[in-house]
Amino acid sequence: MEPNKNKFNRRMSLFLDGALSEDDRAQFINEVNASDQNKENLVNERAFRSFLKNKLTRKTASQSIKNSIRDSFYGRQG
């Protein structure tokens, strides 16, 4: 992959993470709009992030753990 493409992909990552400065963000958007390939890459990357967030099995703490932690906290005071 050529260096410019690598640089674009790294900046795309920062863009989606909200880690670009306002100027860099504007410059990046211009770069995306200038190329269909860039647009497609951005769409794919955005879809990947969304897929990951939505598909990853999300576990929650059981009620017994919650009760046990509450008991530990309030039990200290007795």
Partner: protein, 199 residues
């Protein structure tokens, strides 16, 4: 896991500390458990980690400033508890130190890393369990940054604080971690018979 010693004298929590416990610490428990579960990939160990994290948080609750960032504070405690638990379990003197794995500074920002561009239809049929297994198969330092950024929505600065690495390392590690995860998802999708049309 650290236990409270019954003989140890504990002062009573102040009304402010009770308020912090109920309104700032307890609301984080599900996110914290999810992080612990994915780190351990095991419910019993995740329960232990979360309990230990809260016990530590109680111990230092007088040092916590209300409204700062309870979620990041608790996640940092869980990360440290995970490292400690791993150290206790791995008794082999020459085993690789997990702290090194999580906190080493892979400052490769300028280096070339292949970006994996996956098309949506390539992986969208994968099930949650397969995505979880793919994530779990990554190196722990990769798994950690993906969980913190993509799942929990922490900023780069918060991640740097939680895992004690520079922000530049967070950036480069996330880039590499996501690419590694895409490669794994690609493998899973191919095992399910999907062929990448580009290759």
């Amino acid at each position: 896991m650290e236990e409270f010693n019954e003989n140890e004298k504990h002062r009573e929590a102040t009304p402010e500390e009770i308020q912090i416990f109920e309104t700032e610490l307890m609301p984080q428990i599900d996110a914290l458990y999810n992080f612990a579960y994915h780190l351990c990939y095991n419910e019993a160990d995740a329960n232990d980690l979360v309990q230990e994290a809260y016990l530590k948080a109680f111990k230092y609750i007088d040092k916590y400033k209300s409204g700062t960032n309870p979620k990041a504070w608790l996640f940092r405690i869980v990360k440290n508890a995970f490292i400690n638990a791993y150290r206790k379990k791995s008794k082999a003197p020459k085993s690789v130190d997990i702290e090194e794995f999580i906190t080493f500074h892979d400052t490769d920002e300028g280096s070339y890393v292949e970006h994996v561009n996956l098309e949506t239809d390539f992986y969208h049929d994968l099930m949650g369990d397969e995505v979880t297994a793919a994530l779990n198969s990554l190196k722990v330092e990769f798994k950690t940054v993906i969980l913190l950024c993509d799942v929990e929505g922490f900023s780069y600065d918060e991640i740097a604080e939680i895992i004690d690495i520079p922000v530049g390392t967070v950036r480069s590690r996330l880039f590499r971690a996501r690419n590694a995860l895409k490669e794994k998802l690609k493998e899973y999708a191919e095992q399910h018979g999907f062929k990448d049309k580009r290759t």
